[in-house]
Structures are given as C-alpha cells and as structure tokens.
C-alpha cells in the first residue's frame, strides 16, 4: 500500500540495491493472535473488509462457518474453524484467524521478479505494492503459508497489509481494533512475545501442557504470531504449517538462477525495444485476448485444486 516515497524499506523485491532505510530505528512490530481467547466472531474479518473496502460476493453455505470459504483478492483475513476430537474423547473447536504471517524472511518477496512489488519495512511488515505487481504468481509459490491471491480482474496479487497505512500513522491494524475479546493484540514483537509467555503459563495451569507460541524459525520468525493450546501440532489449526520453510525452488531461484533470469528479462526487454524500433509496436488483437483468457482459465482450474486462485465471482 505504501508509496515509493517510503524511506523505511529494509527489503525490496528484485532489487540488488540496498534500500535507503532512513527509518531503520523503528521497533519491530508483531500482531499476536491468541486463539485460546478467540470466539470466532469474525469482527476482524468485518473490520478488514470495512477498512480496506473489500467485498467478496455473497457465497453459499457448504458445511462450515468459514465464510467466504477461502482467502481471495477481497478476503485478506478469514476465520477457519476446525472441529477436533482429543484423545480422551473431548471436543475442541479450534478457531484460527488466517492471513499473511509477515515473515521475517518473506518467501514471497524472495520469489518476486518484479522490482519493488513486494517490500518489507523496518518494522517488519511485508507489503505488496500493487503498482509494481505483474501478477506472475511467483509470490504464491514462494509463500509457505498459501496466502497471496491473484485477482482475475486486475491481475495483481493481494494479501493482508497488516494495515501498514494505519500502523504508519500510529494506529493498530483494523482487526486488532475490532476484536472484542482482546484475542488479537498488536505491539512491539518483544512485548508481544513477553505477553504470550504469560498466556502460555496460564494455559499450562489449565492443563494445556503443550501450549506455546507459534513464531516459526523456518522463516526466521513472523510478525504475526499465534498463541496455541497445541503448539506441538500447529497443523491441527486448519493446516497451519508445522514447520514452514521457503520452497527450495525459491531459494534456488534467488541464489543462482535469478541473476541469470534477470539478465534474460533484460535481454528480452532490449529485444523488445529493438523490435519496436525496427517493426513498430505490437497491437493486442482480440484473438490474443481470447487465447490469454483461455490460458488463464486453464491455469485457474489447475490451481483450484489447492485453492491458490479464487475466482472473483460476479457479485
């Protein structure tokens, strides 16, 4: 959401230059989601829709309270409900607010080939800069949490911004503001970690021996953390990754292939320029559009299986 004037980037996609980072003295922030005091009311979802002006279509009921059914370009956060039977036969209804985890080592940013389309601020927030996004979907592949969604309307990638626009002016994210039970908190990462410790002590005193903080080291920690009753089994919570890591393909791309690929991109640009000089501009013909749509549809149906793309259904 932030613009190019921001002076507090610490990372910028597909850029080898070190960002100016004039405000790198900023505190690292974190959102702490205490699933053990969350009642699944969806106030956070409503607040996110209000603040960011997002409206998914009115959907259907398909057998759970998860509505909409998945993250999509209009749904940046989503309550996911899991009915879990414990070994002793008791039921737990595990409710997790899903959304971008704002990794300290963001796989999306590493994977992104578009310069400046994904940035990380000094406070740790990972943000998508739509103006630079080329809709290639590499961020989707790069994300270990299956978060970004590409819009079929404007072909840009979307996800939670951690309300970077609010945080920038000293406000908490909209979801935090709306949460009625204080299950979502926001502050410095140190304070949130500290508070989580108190919560975990309380949970242990209530018999949750495996209570703990989810701040996965595989992505060097996250700026969205969870307090879990079952920190030993994060995947119980609607498939929260037990040990998230950036895909080796992205690491490979980042480390070795990317410079070569970028050279390729540059070469293509030069060739394109020469083509334009020599042969004039390419005009997009209706049949090209149709072909592109066809390809996109095929791509969608392929990806629908793992829910990474969600259609912008007409309202």
């Amino acid at each position: 959401m932030a613009d190019l004037q921001s002076q507090d980037y610490i990372r910028r996609s597909a850029t080898t230059l070190t960002p100016p980072s004039a405000r790198s003295h900023e505190d690292q922030v974190a959102k702490l989601i205490d699933v053990t005091r969350c009642i699944g009311c969806k106030a956070c979802q409503a607040a996110c829709m209000e603040w960011n002006d997002l409206r998914s279509p009115v959907g259907e009921f398909t057998g759970s309270y998860d509505n909409p059914h998945d993250l999509d370009p209009h749904t940046w956060t989503l309550m996911r409900f899991t009915e879990h039977e414990t070994d002793d036969g008791n039921l737990e209804w595990l409710i997790r607010k899903d959304g971008c985890m704002h990794c300290e080592d963001p796989g999306c940013l590493k994977a992104c080939p578009a310069p400046g389309a994904i940035v990380q601020y000094a406070n740790g927030i990972v943000d998508f800069i739509s103006a630079h996004c080329i809709g290639c979907g590499y961020c989707v592949a790069g994300c270990p949490f299956n978060i970004p969604r590409i819009s079929k309307v404007d072909h840009k990638s979307y996800k939670c911004t951690l309300c970077s626009d609010r945080v920038e002016v000293g406000l908490e994210p909209a979801c935090v503001k709306a949460c009625p039970t204080g299950a979502i908190m926001f502050g410095s990462k140190a304070d949130m970690t500290d508070w989580a410790g108190d919560r975990i002590d309380d949970l242990k005193s209530r018999g949750y021996q495996n209570a703990g903080l989810y701040d996965p080291p595989g992505v060097s920690g996250t700026h969205v953390m969870y307090v879990l009753h079952h920190a030993d089994k994060p995947s119980l919570y609607a498939g929260l990754p037990d040990d998230p890591k950036i895909s080796p393909a992205v690491t490979f791309w980042k480390g070795l292939i990317k410079p070569v690929a970028l050279a390729g991109v540059a070469l293509a640009a030069v060739s394109g320029f020469l083509h334009w000089v020599i042969a004039g501009p390419n005009e997009v013909q209706p049949e090209d559009e149709a072909e592109a749509e066809h390809l996109l549809a095929a791509e969608r149906s392929k990806k629908d299986g793992d829910n990474r793309y969600n259609a912008d259904k007409p309202a």
Binding site: C41, E60, E83, L91, P180, T181
Partner: protein, 821 residues
C-alpha cells in the same frame, strides 16, 4: 424477568457487564454469550485471565462459548430445571451452602402454610378446567400481626429450606442424567465446581439469555438458577449475580417502560377488569411488610402510580377523579401477548395491527399461522427502518413465502422510520444503564422518527374525537401534551417527563423549599401520592435532573477498577450499579470478600464504590433484609404466589418432547400453560417427528436485521441446520448437502452442516438427536433467501410471560435433492 422479580424483587440483570471480571466461576447455561454477546464476553475472558476464573458451559451444542470454556457438558433442550434442581439437591446434601447468608438473607427459615403440598407433578390448588392454580396455599403461615412465622433453627418441617429439600430429593444424579442426557460424571464435576463458590469470599456469575426464557417453563428455568445462587450466597456480591443478557440494545428499556399489555411504566401493573375503582386497585398493591421493620419499598406504590397519572393527565388527574383511574384500560384476560394477538387475527377478532419495530412473520412461532393471521386483517401498519418480511407478507416469494396475493385483502401501510443512529435518545442496556446517544446522520429518503409518526397519529385521532365524540374520548382528549413542537416532541423533553417534576414547591420538614414548582426531581424519593409530583417512569427518576442529563455522562473512572464507574451514564434505580449490594456484606456490615468490597458499614453509614441498595444509614443491627423490594426483606427460595406454575420449580417436558415425563407421567408438560386448541392440534409427536430441534442466533447476524447489510451477508450467507455426525450418517446426509426439516407446522429446505459439535444424548435409556436451526434468513435483504426457522416452531408460550417455546420442539429431517422451485 418474570422470575427474577419474584425471587429478588426486581426483574433485571443484577450486576454489570464489567463486574463479570470479578467472578471465580462463570457458568453459561441457557445462553451462548460468546455467540450472542461477543462484546460483553470480553469480561468473561478478563475473568479467566485476570481472576483465574473457570468457565463452565452447559448447552445442547458445543458452542462458540464452549470453544473457550474450561468445561463443557451437553444437555437435552428443555431439561434445565431437572439439571439445576439436581444441583440444589447436591448443595443441600453435601452442605455446600453459604449458611449465614441463606439464614439471614433468604426465606429459608420462614414457615409455609399447612395447606401447601406437591404430589404427582401438581402443587396444591390446581384446577383441571382452567389449567391454573388457586394459589392461596402458596404462602407463609402468618402470626397475629400479619408477619410470616419463622424458625431459624430449621427444625420446623414446613420451613422453606425443609420443603425445598423434600422437593428436590427426587433429582438424584441418576435421575438428572436420565432426563437431561448429561453424563453423570460431567454433571457431578459441574456440581462440584459450582459448590466451591459457597465459600463467602468466592463468587459465581450466571450468564443466560433466551436459551432459558424461550420455553414453556422459561421463567422457572431462570428461577432455579436464582435459587442456586441464593444458596451459594452469590447475589449482591461482586462477580456474582443472575445476569440476564438482553438480546436487543434496548429490550431492558422496553420492560422498564412497560411495553407489555399488562404493564405500565416502572413495573406498575395495569388494572384487571374486576378492579373497578382505584381503591380496589390499591387494595392488592399495599405491600405491607411480611417481617418486622422491613423496607418493602413497593409500599410507595401509590406515590409512583399517582405521579404517573399526573404525568399523563396533568391537571385533569385530580384527587376527586381518583387520579383519572377510570381512563386506564382494564384487562379482561391476563395478557394480550403476541400469541394471543395472532390467535385473535386468525379468528377474525383483531382486524387492524400497528407493527412498530417488529417483524412477527420472522420472529414469531408457526409462520404459517402468522401469515394467515396477517392475511385476514383489514389493515396492517408497519413502522421499521428496514424492508421487513412482515411488510411484504402478501407477496409471493416462492417456497420461502408462498403467498397468494390475489386472495389477500389486507391494506398495508409501510412507514419507513429512522434508526437509532439517526436520532437523539437513550437506550437502556442489559445492566440497566440509560445511555444517551446523539444523532449521527440524517434518516434516508422519507424516513421519519417513531416519535414524529406516533405524534401524527395521536393528533389526527384527537381531532376525530373532538369532532365526532366517540365511545370514550376522555383518555385521548385529556392527555397532557406540552411540548415545544407538538408534532415532534424532543427526546430530551420526553426524558424529562420520565424523570418527573415538582408540580408545586416541595418543602422539607422544616418548611424549607427543596424543589421549586416545575423543577426536575432529583430522584424517586421525592415522589408523593397527593398529586404534587409527576413522573412518567418512576424507576428512571434521577436520570435527568436540574444538574442536567445524567444519561449523557461519560466519565469512565472506576475507583477500585472493580467494574463500577458511577459517573458513566446513569443506572436505574438511583444510579445503583449492583442490585442488592447490601448482601455483599455480612450481618455486621463487613464485606464477605474483603478483596472485592462493594459497600460496608462505617459505623454511621454505608460507604463504598456503589450507591447502597439499602437505607443509607440503616444500622446492620436493625435486622432489615437486603432485598428491599420484597415484603419479607429476603430473597425467595419459595416464590409464594408469584409464579404461574408453582412456588418451587418443577421439571415439565416441552410441549413437543420425545419422552414421557419420568417424574410424573400424568403431568407431562407445564400444567399452567395456556394453549389454544388450534395450536394444540398443531403439536407433533415423536413417532412422526423423532428429533429434538432448537433455534438460535449466530454471531454474524443480528436477528433479521443484519441480513440487509452486505458484510454480514457475506460472513454468513445462507440458511442451514446443524446435524450431528451420527444422525447424518444414519440418514445419509452429506456435508453441505440439501435437507428438508419438517415439523407438524411446516418445513424448511436448506443446507446441512454435519458437525461433531452435536452428539446424541442418552435420554431415558434411548438415543436422542438434537438438530440446531439458526434463525436469520428470510426473503428480504442481501443474504440468500431462506424459509425462516419459525416456519417450524410451535405456538405455545411460558405460562407467566407467553414467551414462545422456540428452544425445544420436534422435527423430522431427510436428505433431499435440492430446493423446491
């Protein structure tokens, strides 16, 4: 509220939302606070985190509240009295009661009349013909002075505590489990947790809502827990209480202002037709103390009543015309409730209906009957900010509203009103706070305030009465209507009316003027019965004084951080935040829990963080009880004649139930309930409709309103029912597939949510399945069209309030291909 007043004296939530944080145990039963009151629920979370509280949830379904509970137990819908009577038995048997409290602050020691009895499901005095009781034996034995006899050694076989012990003896853990389907070990674990709060410095709060009220025995459900709380010494104390969580932002205000057919503002009651004179009327409203020295505050009834009549009729109400008593309507039946209203419409006995802020086609039971009733009207006026189903009842919306428009002659006037955010005014929240709010936007289009509309109707009616006379013009022609703009009284003017004024200079004993004529009263203590004061709603007196609008106060400071902010808005009565707070201190006036004191005796007066609910200088040694509204000064374990179906609660099955009443097969359901013959004929039986259904709300929606808002429609878009996995497997119902749920009265076709959160219960040895039916969808608004849960529900109400039995009835369910088109 029809059970809290008979027990404690006032029909309202006893404590504050914020006070919930002081609890050691929070029990949510007969409600789903996290689901229905997510904002208030923060205080439950606060109690857990800051006070180490345990949260116990007892519910037919594993709810959103259960998802954060420390302990959950299932229960069959409609069996809460059996469960809680078992808890009372447990407390008495294990001697886990707060002895000093029970002895001094309840009627445990009072002796009941010899004629009182209970056998085979019926209390003494029952008449088969009228389905009602002669309650004369449901009272205390009185001495020569008219005081109740007492035995505080509890030796007398007919003292209340012994009668109670005898009454609950049948509710053994085996019996509770047999009726409720709750596994015995879970039930006993809960008994044990609750019992721990009998310690004087421990408190339990009971949070409940429609899960208790919406039964044919609703008021008694609440009363049973009220009795548990008295035995545990949990009323009047911080973190305790009976906390009725109100379902509308202003439903407490509705009750306070007396918007029921048998009520007037401030819990004054409308006369019955046999009370032909004011003298007759006052005869049964003396409230003479039943124990020596008791405050029995309702002794002031005449002051409230006369001041109300003066507020209504001004100079036209005089001592000579008995304060215009004859102009009051007189009831010929106990209650003109909504079930009766629709019965009358169906019988052609009610031809016109003004439906203000109400959507009965969605909200009331047996939707087919509601639609048939509306179809027989000559006219229907709806006043609502939204396009309600009721106002469109005549239109064919397909299977969700199959109306034959051509055959309906009802003329419908749809008057759009402003909503609360488009006008100034006050709302009374659950915890009795009158909070002023300010207009935030202009109403859209042609919408007008309810005040403007009602004023217009009034002026036109008055004009017609003036010109044409009519059968009885006096009440309309003499009405006092002294407003700056008579066509649109200002909400502040109405608020001042309710607070009340002096009509002459009021003087104290020395003759000094305390309040000049026309000045606003400081409180109801200034009301008089000689026509020199007026007040439109005595309990609100003090809310708008010469010092200004007290409801508009916004000082959140909370001296002890104990959840009492005395300068935030204004609470009735007299800005007291915790009712019966005298009971938070022991007999000497020292707090039972020194860590969380509310008031204490300083040696000369009561001091503390709340306004004493007691005489401010009444000495502890005067033996005046803490329940000052009750004539005996104490809380009632035995409710005397104040409940329709008995002074002690008894388990009666819902009118549609899968099992017999194992306690007394001949008296299966509430014997004092009123059931109209057509409604009786529309009850189903278990062979046809084998499953227990219960209806409820979801967090994503507010009743039938929020489906008009796009975000809420997105968050919960479509009608569904919740079915346990075991039943779904038996019936071949797949997750998310279409089902048809039917009762004797109609059917809905909607999606199935197959869930682990509803498990079959073993009731009387047989497996019993529960089906959950959320209520929110209809045929107007932005969400998908739905049939509405009340297509299924039975038209029978609680015997005291006629609140419909939405929470327990019978249905069948089957898998179907898809919606009928």
């Amino acid at each position: 509220m029809a059970s809290l007043a008979p027990t404690f004296g006032r029909g309202a939530m006893t404590n504050t939302w914020q006070d919930i944080k002081n609890a050691n145990v929070v029990v949510v039963m007969g409600g789903n606070a996290a689901e229905a009151h997510p904002c208030g629920f923060k205080w439950v979370i606060e109690a857990k985190i800051e006070n180490g509280a345990k949260l116990i949830v007892i519910d037919p379904r594993f709810t959103r509240t259960a998802s954060v509970a420390d302990y959950y137990a299932p229960i069959r819908p409609g069996t809460d009295i059996a469960f809680l009577s078992g808890v009372i038995r447990y407390l008495l048997e294990k001697d886990k009661i707060q002895h000093e409290y029970v002895r001094a602050y309840t009627n445990a020691s009072l002796i009941v009349k010899d004629g009182f009895s209970f056998a085979d499901g019926l209390f003494s005095g029952y008449s088969e013909d009228t389905h009602s009781y002669d309650k004369s034996s449901w009272d205390y034995e009185l001495d020569d002075q008219g005081f109740a006899k007492i035995d505080d050694t509890w030796q007398h076989p007919r003292c209340v505590i012994n009668l109670l012990r005898q009454h609950v003896a049948r509710y053994t853990p085996e019996m509770v489990s047999r009726i409720c389907g709750t596994p015995q070990d879970k039930y006993l674990h809960i008994c044990d947790t609750l019992a721990a709060t009998s310690a004087p410095d421990k408190a339990m709060t009971s949070l409940f809502a429609l899960g208790w009220t919406q039964h044919s025995i609703g008021a008694q459900n609440i009363r049973t827990m009220a009795m548990v709380q008295l035995l545990l010494g949990n009323i009047g104390v911080a973190g305790g209480g009976m906390n009725a969580l109100r379902g509308h932002s202003n439903i407490q205000g509705l009750t306070d202002i007396g918007l029921m057919s048998d009520q007037m503002p401030g819990y004054l009651t409308l006369p019955h037709e046999n009370e032909t004179t004011f003298e007759d009327y006052m005869k049964t409203r003396q409230f003479k103390p039943l124990r020596p020295n008791q405050i029995s505050y309702w002794q002031n009834y005449k002051k409230f009543m006369v001041s109300f009549q003066k507020s209504f009729y001004g100079n036209a109400a005089t001592a000579e015309n008995n304060w215009a008593y004859d102009w009051l309507p007189k009831l010929d039946v106990p209650l003109y409730d909504i079930i009766r209203a629709f019965e009358m419409m169906n019988k052609g006995a009610m031809n016109g209906y003004i439906c203000q802020g109400f959507n009965p086609l969605q909200a009331f039971p047996d939707r087919g009957k509601i639609r048939r009733g509306l179809s027989k009207l000559k006219f229907l006026v709806t006043m609502d900010p939204l396009d309600t189903e009721t106002s469109r009842f005549w239109e064919d919306f397909g299977p969700q509203n199959p109306a034959d428009s051509a055959s309906i002659q009802t003329e419908v006037f749809q008057l759009p009103t402003s909503c609360f955010a488009e006008e100034n005014g006050s709302l009374v929240n659950s915890t009795r706070w009158l909070q002023w709010h300010w207009k935030a936007a202009e109403p859209p289009g042609e919408a007008k305030s309810d005040i403007w509309i009602m004023s217009g109707i009034y002026h036109r009616m008055r004009e017609m009465y003036r010109k044409e006379g009519g059968a009885f013009p006096d009440p309309i022609l003499n009405l006092s209507w002294d407003y700056t703009d008579p066509t649109n009284p200002d909400p502040e003017e109405l608020a001042k009316d309710m607070n009340g004024r002096a009509r002459v200079d009021l003087k104290d004993e020395s003759g000094a003027v305390t309040l000049k004529a026309g000045q606003l009263l400081d409180g109801f203590g200034q009301l008089r019965d000689d026509g020199t004061t007026e007040s439109g709603c005595w309990v609100f007196s003090g809310s708008y004084t010469e010092q200004g609008n007290q409801m508009a106060r916004r000082d959140a400071s909370d001296p002890r951080e104990q959840g009492i902010a005395p300068n935030w808005a204004w609470a009735w009565p007299a800005n007291r935040r915790i009712l019966y707070n005298r009971a938070s201190a022991d007999l000497e006036g020292n707090p039972w829990n020194p860590e969380k004191p509310i008031i204490r005796w300083s040696g000369t007066k009561w001091v503390g963080i709340d306004v004493p609910d007691y005489g401010p200088t009444v000495k502890p040694s005067d033996s005046i009880g803490p329940f000052i509204m009750n004539a005996e000064g104490v809380g009632r374990l035995f409710a005397r004649d104040m409940m329709a179906e008995g002074p002690f609660p008894e388990h009666y099955e819902p009118f549609e139930s899968p099992v017999p009443n194992v306690l007394h097969p001949k008296v299966r359901s509430n014997p004092a309930a009123r059931v109209f013959p057509d409604d009786m004929a529309a009850f189903g039986t278990a062979p046809e409709y084998p499953f227990v259904a219960t209806t409820y709300r979801l967090t994503e929606h507010f009743h039938y309103w929020s489906k008009h808002a796009l975000i809420n429609a997105i968050l919960q878009p479509e009608e569904f029912v919740e079915i346990g996995e075991v039943l779904a497997n038996e019936k071949g119902i797949a997750q998310g597939s279409w089902v048809r749920v039917s009762s004797k009265r109609g059917h809905v076709v909607c999606k199935a949510y197959v869930t682990k959160r509803i498990k079959p219960l073993t009731v009387d040895g047989k497996p019993t399945h529960v089906i959950g039916v959320p209520i929110h969808w209809g045929f107007t608004g932005q969400a998908r069209k739905g049939y509405g849960a009340n297509t299924l529900t039975p038209s029978v109400g609680d015997a005291n309030t006629q609140t419909p039995e939405f929470k327990a009835f019978l249905v069948n369910v089957e898998s179907v291909k898809g919606p009928e088109v």
